[in-house]
């Protein structure tokens, strides 16, 4: 992270205009302004003055976008350069700069890896978490349209080594019902699988509709072969031959796909059940029985990502909005209906329409949301259910990889290499230090964020993990030892440590607290080791606010 940020004052006039006159503005700013306007007609500010509390200061803004985009805090040099930059459009420029950083793809690639892998029903799919992550990181950095990424997952075929997008199907061991449930949940925000066994109690989907969707996937199967002394063989294959079993009983293990999907008879689970024609529930479009696998899944992907399917764009916008603003239009993010109710539905519709019109341009959407006033509001605690929505940003707990990368980044430590090192995700226990860290700090990113709680093993890791404590020492070849030598003035050192760990200047009272502490301890090295320990163990370090 030794990048320089060359914030130039160029484009000042244009930028000033952009802030006020929408006709001259670039598209994201224009859409952001319109979204804010729409949002406030649906959910006005509810404070005593009925006006906006305004946008956060530069320091918080920079930390926010840095954690949201590249998963780590800015360096003291970056903070100073940003704060001193007089350019009025410096916020959008900083966002664009971070979007172009390769850590952006790493951060969001790991996010989507977790979205998929936290719901895996096949434990051995952990084997392909690496290729899945690689595929996602690359796709995010290339800014592949979201529709293309969805298509890649839905139509995936081949070995994990060649095509990481087989990860979604493999995580569900190729079971048509589970794959269907995940495709619908992740890409449409619809939990249609609740209708798998019975008609859904609150949604209007029928059991048939779930199994009609599953009927796009019967010919697929996931094959994992573990052979001693050889790398595991992992692949998704399609079976268009009329060989092998013609049908399978519910939940039976499947090694090879079957020609068609049957809806099980609940009264007689061992019977064949009802033959299902593939129908896409959102639009009613169907393909005939006997269609080859490639056509089935290819057609489904086309229909799902078409702009006339309202769920596709909305599911993505809702999720990104929730990640960035701290609260989704629908919560949880992957349960949108059809009989759920959105907070500010018109704002969601508007943004979703614009996102679809952009060609599902992910970076464009992030840039747009980050330009909204909503995104830039000061933080407040999560609201109660009776309180109005979207009055403030809500602090978000960092994901395991973000926290781990921040620790390395802040302490200027490098990631220990070793067996399986460098891979996180759920249950990645054997995966080196990062894996152990993920096992303690990881959470399913689709879960409501107010349901994610801190745990004792997390506290123990932050307080006592030997490797991180060693990196926090004030002696030897550590970051702190270097700063203790370079900065002789205690106040200056306190400021530097705050900038480094929390990406902000300490308040006057914080400086006083720390200086008093240094005096009481009576040993400069020990005192600053304790202060660094305290900053890294603080709530603020663990959250993006």
């Amino acid at each position: 992270m030794k990048r320089g940020w060359n914030f130039q004052a160029a484009g000042c006039v244009f930028a000033l205009a952009m802030m006020t006159v929408s006709t001259l503005a670039s598209e994201p700013a224009e859409v952001a302004a319109q979204a804010d306007k729409q949002l406030r007609t649906e959910v006005p500010f509810a404070n005593t003055t009925k006006t906006s509390p305004g946008r956060v200061g530069d320091e918080i803004f920079l930390r926010r976008i840095s954690l949201d985009l590249v998963g780590r805090v800015p360096t003291p040099e970056q903070i100073v350069a940003f704060v001193l930059d007089p350019s009025p459009n410096k916020r959008d420029k900083a966002v664009q700069k971070l979007l172009a950083d390769s850590h952006y793809g790493e951060n969001w690639g790991r996010y989507w890896r977790d979205v998929i892998m936290y719901r895996k029903t096949e434990e051995r799919a952990q084997l392909i978490a690496g290729p899945l992550e690689d595929y996602l990181v690359k796709s995010m950095n290339e800014n592949k349209p979201w529709s293309q990424i969805a298509t890649d997952f839905i139509t995936a075929l081949g070995s994990a080594e060649d095509n990481g997008a087989v990860g979604l199907i493999m995580a569900q061991q190729g079971q048509p019902e589970e794959v269907t449930a995940e495709v619908s949940r992740i890409f449409l925000g619809v939990q249609i699988q609740c209708a798998q066994c019975h008609n859904h109690p609150t949604d209007r989907w029928k059991r048939e509709q779930f199994h009609e969707l599953a009927a796009f996937f019967p010919r697929v199967s996931s094959q994992i072969r573990l052979m001693q002394g050889q790398p595991p063989e992992t692949k998704v294959v399609a079976n268009d031959e009329q060989r092998g079993p013609m049908f399978r009983r519910p939940m039976m293990m499947r090694r090879i796909g079957t020609p068609e999907h049957y809806m099980p008879d609940l009264k007689d689970p061992q019977s064949r059940g009802t033959l299902m024609t593939p129908v896409f529930f959102a639009t009613g479009q169907k393909v005939p029985l006997g269609t080859k696998d490639a056509d089935r899944r290819g057609t489904l992907a086309k229909w799902m990502t078409a702009t006339d399917n309202p769920y596709f764009a909305k599911a993505f916008v809702n999720r990104m909005w929730s990640e960035l603003c701290g609260e989704g239009f629908y919560e949880p993010v992957d349960d949108m209906g059809p009989d759920r109710h959105a907070t500010a539905p018109q704002t969601l519709d508007y943004l979703s329409g614009q996102f679809a019109a952009s060609g599902y341009d992910v970076k464009w959407l992030l840039r747009t949301i980050m330009a909204t006033e909503m995104y830039q509001l000061p933080s407040a605690p999560r609201r109660g259910p009776e309180e109005p929505a979207f009055q403030a940003a809500v602090a978000q707990r960092l994901r395991a990889d973000q926290l781990f990368d921040n620790l390395l980044h802040v302490l200027e430590a490098s990631e220990p290499a070793g067996f399986g090192g460098g891979r996180g995700g759920p249950y990645a226990r054997a995966g080196g230090v990062r894996g152990q860290f993920s096992a303690a700090f990881g959470y399913d990113p689709s879960q409501r964020r107010d349901e994610i709680a801190g745990s004792i093993p997390q506290a123990l890791a932050m307080m006592n993990a030997p490797n991180f404590n060693a990196a926090m020492r004030g002696t030897g070849r550590t970051m702190l030892a270097r700063l203790l030598g370079e900065i002789k003035d205690d106040k200056g050192l306190v400021q530097e440590l705050y900038l480094k760990t929390l990406a902000r200047e300490p308040s006057q009272s914080e400086v006083t607290t720390c200086l008093l502490f240094v005096k009481q301890v009576g040993n400069r090295t020990e005192a600053f080791e304790d202060i660094l320990w305290g900053l890294v163990n603080s709530t603020e370090f663990l959250h993006r606010s």
Binding site: A181, P381, N464, T513, S545
Partner: protein, 431 residues
């Protein structure tokens, strides 16, 4: 009532769309409505209640699927039985494999279920099933048995975690929808301190750091992070209380006499059983001890003999030790793996996966020992009498621990999930 307050005592109750802040706000009203105690008082009262109840459970998990023929259901004289002989036990009429001579002597306390049956023959799915009572699905993360028990009858006032898992469990089942508070506390190796519980500084300096920490938190709390800071501090206080507690010595097996350590044998599983006994004695509610490598596709007879060697003495000692300390009646011991092994012996002298008929064994916790439940056909291929499904076993365990198995927890999308879906208590188990 006690259940409600147990929940409220928790740091993080936000399941099923009840958000913590609303919940905390609701407490004074609820306490008033109850017309009696303050929340604090009620919490303490209910904790005392739970302690009086004092039930605990030890799960001895045999990863890989132990062969029933080489453990509790030998079949000498039949081709399917292979070379394994049967021996008499302390209970006349009950014979088990020659590989378990010490366990045979403890038969009066053991209830064998020879008619366990399921349909899952893959390790991960069957392990999940036998740990949670459910098959894995993408949308609901079912809680593992230890998490269920910790939530239902765990002692909230204990400085030690309610659920401790000893040894490596290959499959990552945890608290799932119940939340991290009920996740297993992992001890990788009995005898070594659990990860990150050793202080990296002197204790006075550690306290100095802990005192500094809240003073660095005020700014963030005032800038909209009040709730997060408060939660964070509670977890840190709990963690600090735990690691500086004298009860941490429970994890240190060197506190036991050499005689006691020897009685459990010097293998890792035996030391795990000793640690389990120490933890239960110290107030932990659920301990899972893992013994792996039962996947005997090759050389089944030798491999099973070796594994039984690791199992036999510790199991017998655990029962005797708990009994001698007056803890056996309140501690339910469950022995099982994810499935059994094929009656047919394969060309590699091995046995393959077989969920259709396998063994579980129970002891303590009100279980009537000295009995066998279920009967198989002559070749041990299928259950002839009294099949016990996974849900039946789970209901039975819940019954033994006074847990209402029909209670519903909420999934993250508001779907009610019963602790156990279907099944019936195997009443004979409790005599």
């Amino acid at each position: 009532m006690s259940q409600t307050f147990h929940l409220q005592a928790d740091v993080s109750i936000r399941r099923g769309h009840v958000r913590r802040r609303d919940f905390l706000k609701a407490i004074p009203a609820a306490a008033l409505a109850a017309g009696a105690l303050s929340w604090q008082d009620a919490m303490i009262a209910s904790a005392a209640d739970l302690r009086r109840q004092g039930k605990a459970c030890i799960l001895l998990w045999m990863q890989g699927g132990p062969s029933q023929f080489e453990t509790f259901s030998p079949l000498p004289g039949h081709a399917n039985g292979g070379e394994t002989k049967a021996i008499k036990t302390a209970v006349s009429g009950i014979e088990i494999s020659e590989n378990l001579p010490e366990t045979a002597k403890a038969m009066e306390d053991l209830c064998l279920i020879r008619s366990m049956t399921s349909k899952e023959g893959s390790h991960p799915r069957a392990s999940y099933l036998m740990h949670t009572g459910y098959l894995p699905t993408a949308t609901v993360k079912y809680p593992t048995l230890g998490s269920i028990v910790a939530k239902e009858i765990g002692d909230v006032t204990s400085e030690l975690p309610s659920f401790v898992r000893i040894g490596i469990n290959r499959f990552g089942d945890g608290a799932g929808l119940l939340g991290v508070d009920y996740d297993p506390f992992m001890v990788q190796r009995a005898g070594s301190p659990p990860a990150n519980t050793a202080l990296t500084t002197t204790e006075p300096r550690y306290q100095r750091r802990l005192n500094l920490l809240p003073r660095l938190e005020t700014e963030f709390a005032n800038a909209g992070g009040k709730q997060e800071v408060s939660d964070h501090q509670k977890v840190y206080a709990q963690a600090a209380k735990m690691i500086t507690s004298p009860k941490m010595a429970t994890f240190d097996l060197s506190k036991e006499s050499q005689k006691a350590r020897d009685a459990y044998g010097n293998e890792e599983f035996g030391q795990g059983c000793l640690l389990a006994r120490r933890l239960i004695e110290a107030g932990v509610t659920f301990v899972e001890v893992n013994l792996g490598n039962w996947d005997t596709h090759r050389d089944n007879f030798n491999a099973s003999r070796t594994l039984c060697g690791k199992l036999d003495q510790p199991l017998a000692t655990l029962i005797a030790d708990l009994k001698q300390r007056g803890l056996l009646d309140s501690t339910l011991i469950v022995w099982t793996g994810e499935f059994g092994r094929t009656p047919r012996i394969n060309p590699n002298s091995g046995r393959d996966h077989y969920p259709r008929a396998f063994n579980a064994a129970l002891a303590g916790g009100g279980v009537k020992g000295g009995q066998v439940i279920g009967q198989l056909d002559a070749g041990g291929e299928s259950v002839k009498d009294r099949p016990v499904g996974v849900a039946d076993l789970f209901r039975t365990i819940c019954h033994g621990l006074s847990i209402n198995a029909s209670k519903e927890n909420m999934s993250s999308i508001g779907r009610p999930i019963k602790i156990v879906d279907g099944g019936e208590v195997v009443k004979e188990v409790f005599g």
